[in-house]
């Protein structure tokens, strides 16, 4: 394997990891506030199709990305109204949101199947981007790749260092305590859920504008679910989400290369299962192993907030 092969492999790992990272970091914020939104896959799909349609319609990928963020947030808002205001069950509502997202994105995307679009432009810094190896590896990506890392850094800083982040964690840890000290639990949770929608929309935009610049029905291919697993895998810590996203991205790419490397006696279908298999194994190990502490997960995760009289 030459240097070029390795370099190409690393570049594809970054590409595979970015949508996972974007979707997972938003879900992490939502879960830190105590809201389990299983609709990530649906929000991503809607983000993907809206980004694509807007880019094709306006010719501006920037508008496409913006529209994807709004689309993801509208989906998240629907989820919020149902689960936070109307106190519907979060798991059921999240599943419904995913199913709804699959249908809605197919509907919107019907006319766009087969339409080509230019791949999101890569950053080009004269000098730096031309450096061998380092250039393409670090300075040759599109804006969403950098944004995904920047958002992760910002979320880590926000949760750990800011007062608003402290309040958000408090709301996820004990909604009743937060309420009795005087914080508006529902409002904080709306913000967190909307942020989750925003990044899920971005993740979708990355898929349809950069990863594979086209629209295909169901193109997220379960990445929303992997993102959900990632949050638990990372035990709700932003830095571990970053690491986890790249590990999962790596597994996805590894199977492609293994398949491409000739017949190794394993059916392609089994190789395709790898990322999902890894998800299941990781979740099982985490929930059964010595890490199983209730203190990792936000204590109020998934519980509707009912202020006691």
């Amino acid at each position: 394997m030459g240097l070029d092969t390795i370099l190409a492999m690393l570049l594809t790992v970054i590409a595979a990891a970015t949508p996972l990272l974007l979707a997972a970091i938003g879900e992490l914020v939502s879960e830190k506030a105590g809201v389990l939104n299983l609709g990530v896959e649906g929000m991503m799909l809607v983000g993907a199709v809206i980004a694509f349609a807007t880019t094709v319609g306006t010719g501006s990928p920037a508008l496409g990305i913006l529209a994807a963020m709004i689309g993801g947030m509208v989906m998240a808002l629907a989820f919020g109204v149902l689960t936070l205001t109307l106190m519907a069950n979060q798991v059921a509502t999240g599943l419904a949101l995913t199913i709804f997202g699959i249908g809605l994105s197919s509907l919107i995307g019907a006319d766009y199947i087969g339409t080509p679009v230019d791949k999101l432009a890569s950053l080009s810094i004269p000098g730096l981007s031309d450096l061998p190896v380092i250039g393409p590896l670090i300075f040759g990506h599109d804006i969403l790749v950098y944004l995904s890392v920047a958002i992760t850094v910002a979320v880590a800083w926000f949760l750990k260092k800011t007062r608003a982040g402290l309040i958000l964690r408090a709301v996820g840890e004990s909604d009743l305590s937060a309420h009795s000290i005087g914080y508006d639990v529902i409002r904080v949770r709306y913000f967190a859920v909307l942020f989750g929608g925003l990044t899920a929309g971005l993740a979708g935009a990355y898929l349809s504008l950069s990863y594979t610049p086209m629209w295909v029905e169901g193109m997220t291919a379960g990445r929303g679910w992997i993102a959900l697993a990632l949050v638990a895998f990372a035990s709700w810590r932003p830095w571990r989400v970053l690491g986890g996203a790249y590990i999962f991205g790596g597994v996805t790419i590894l199977q492609l290369y293994l398949q491409g490397g000739g017949d190794i006696g394993i059916p392609a279908q089994v190789m395709n299962m790898l990322p999902y298999l890894a998800t299941i194994i990781v979740l099982t190990v985490i929930s059964a192993g010595p890490w199983r502490g209730r203190l990792d997960a936000p204590a109020c995760l998934g519980k509707p907030f009912r202020p006691a009289s």
Binding site: A170, S174, S177, S180, I181, G182, S309
Partner: protein
């Protein structure tokens, strides 16, 4: 405040006028009014469900009154949320703490303040300074779930003190403290009073109210039924005002009555703590006889939780014969097996440990009593029997609830406690281990529970009471042992032992209670 208006008389710090608050189906407060003067310690007395907590939640802005006025320093105010309350200078120490278990003391304090400042190091220093100057030492870096109940309460108090409150509302603050800790708390409160801070003090402990408070307002059924000077009243007369009936104290059986055979033994029990930062149990020996009540005193967090878990079977001993029930080695058996042999337990934590909050009282009765009371029919649940049993518990222990199908978690703390203790007592266990039997329960109900324990012992059952309430242990116990830093002292006859002796043992013989506490916590 209007200048020149009402110059003769100083305004009360807080005045309530005609406060009324109704919930669906119940009027929690009806036309409640009283005044708290600056620098006054004012007691708010009443049974469980008298409406005290509802009332103070309105003062702190968590609930909105349906009618009535809150007057602060002579000015009518609207308190829509706790931020407003804190801005006025009202601090509150909650009965069920408003804390975040996975977070540090520092973060918990910061969350309860409106302007904690940017600098965390400076806040940590302030926490240390204030907590030490008021005799309530706290380590800002510790996570709350590792702290004892007493330490958790300190967080709430320190959080208020940092904001220089002008009125401190305390909802049953001493129910979890040792006599020494109570003494320390009273010193703190008197110091605050001397600084001009008013205190609204909710408690069931009438002796404490006599000792501490300048005035008292008594609530019953949501209404003010009396106001009195606690120093001029007796504990008994206040209790009668509170319950509106003759107060019956616990009838003790004669001391020195013969006890039965040994039912439960612990032989050299060693156990690592379940929680990080806990204390290990060290070589605990214990022999509990039928017909006796053995009390175990100790400051919270000295191994009581693990001791109860080890006896109940929730945690297993290293070898089977470390724990015996009627001579049978059960150290490696689980709770169900031990329950079958006649050992019932009441853990300290009601919600989540003693009861499943989201399940009905009937189902909660089913969970703990199905084997002993025969609620299973060919493997199927006999809900009718369980419901009747739950109804009997409700009736016998005066549990205030709409019915047997109410979720356990919706009962007030005291009422749930009555239900859980009652549920175990009515199973007529041969051995009953109970932690904090009357925590948060009012005087009349506490007397009912204590009487039921005494009566159960009289039928030959062996009873182990783990409590931080020394008065209670002295009332109930035949013998008292003290647990400190995971080691259990020899049991002493309750008739001859003094409060001071027990207090010293609770603090460890070699130092003050604080030293031992810090050591136990380290």
């Amino acid at each position: 405040m209007e200048p020149g208006h009402d110059v003769v008389k100083e305004h009360p710090r807080l005045e309530l006028r005609g406060i009324t608050k109704a919930f669906p189906g119940v009027i929690a407060n009806s036309d409640v009014g009283f005044e708290v003067a600056p620098g006054e310690i004012h007691a708010l007395l009443g049974e469980n469900g008298a409406g005290k907590s509802t009332l103070v939640k309105q003062i702190y802005g968590i609930l909105k009154p349906d009618a009535g006025e809150i007057v602060w320093d002579g000015r009518e105010v609207d308190i829509p949320n706790p931020h407003t309350a804190r801005a006025l200078g009202i601090g509150m120490v909650f009965q069920h703490f408003s804390l975040f278990e996975a977070m540090t003391v520092l973060e918990n304090v910061a969350l309860g303040m409106d302007d904690p400042g940017k600098d965390r190091t400076a806040l940590a220093k302030r926490i240390r300074d204030v907590s030490e100057s008021y005799g309530l030492p706290l380590d800002p870096a510790r996570e709350v779930h590792t702290l004892s109940v007493g330490e958790r309460q300190r967080i709430e108090i320190v959080r208020c003190l940092l904001q220089s409150p002008r009125l401190l509302v305390m909802d049953e603050p001493t129910s979890v403290l040792t006599p020494q800790e109570v003494g320390k708390l009273f010193e703190t409160l008197r110091k605050l009073k001397a600084e001009g801070c008013s205190i609204l003090y909710i408690s069931h402990k009438l002796n404490e109210i006599k000792e501490l408070c300048d005035a008292a307002t008594i609530l019953r059924g949501g209404k003010v039924v009396a106001a009195c000077d606690p120093k001029a009243e007796t504990a008994r007369s206040m209790a009668q005002l509170m319950i509106g009936a003759e107060f019956r104290s616990v009838a003790r059986r004669e001391a020195g009555k013969d006890t039965g055979p040994v039912r439960l033994t612990l032989k050299g029990l060693n156990m690592a703590p379940e929680m990080a930062h806990g204390v290990p149990l060290k070589n605990i020996h214990l022999a509990l006889r039928g017909g006796e009540i053995l009390g175990i005193a100790g400051v919270a967090g000295n191994g009581q939780g693990d001791l109860l878990a080890a006896i109940a079977g929730e945690r297993k001993a290293a070898s089977a014969d470390t724990v015996t029930i009627d001579g049978k080695a059960v150290g490696r058996s689980g709770p169900a097996a031990r329950r079958k042999l006649g050992l019932c337990t009441v853990p300290e934590e009601r919600n989540g440990h003693g009861a499943v909050p989201d399940m009905s009282l009937t189902d909660n009765a089913m969970l703990s009593a199905h084997k002993r009371m025969g609620f299973l029919k060919a493997g199927f649940l006999d809900k009718g029997k369980s419901r009747n049993f739950a109804a009997e518990v409700i009736k016998r222990f005066d549990v205030r609830t709409p019915g047997t199908e109410t979720a356990a978690g919706s009962l007030s703390g005291g009422n749930l406690q009555k239900f859980i203790v009652g549920r175990e007592i009515l199973q007529k266990p041969e051995i009953l281990v109970v932690a904090q039997p009357t925590w948060g329960v009012d005087a009349a109900a506490a007397a009912t529970i204590q009487q039921a324990l005494v009566d159960l012992a009289a039928t030959g059952s062996a009873i182990l009471v783990i409590s931080q309430d020394l008065d209670e242990l002295l009332t109930l116990s035949d013998r008292i042992a003290v647990i400190n830093a995971g080691a259990l002292s020899d049991a002493m006859p309750a008739a001859t032992v003094s409060v001071e002796e027990i207090g010293l043992l609770m603090g460890g013989i070699h130092g003050s209670p604080e030293d031992a506490h810090a050591k136990g916590a380290a």
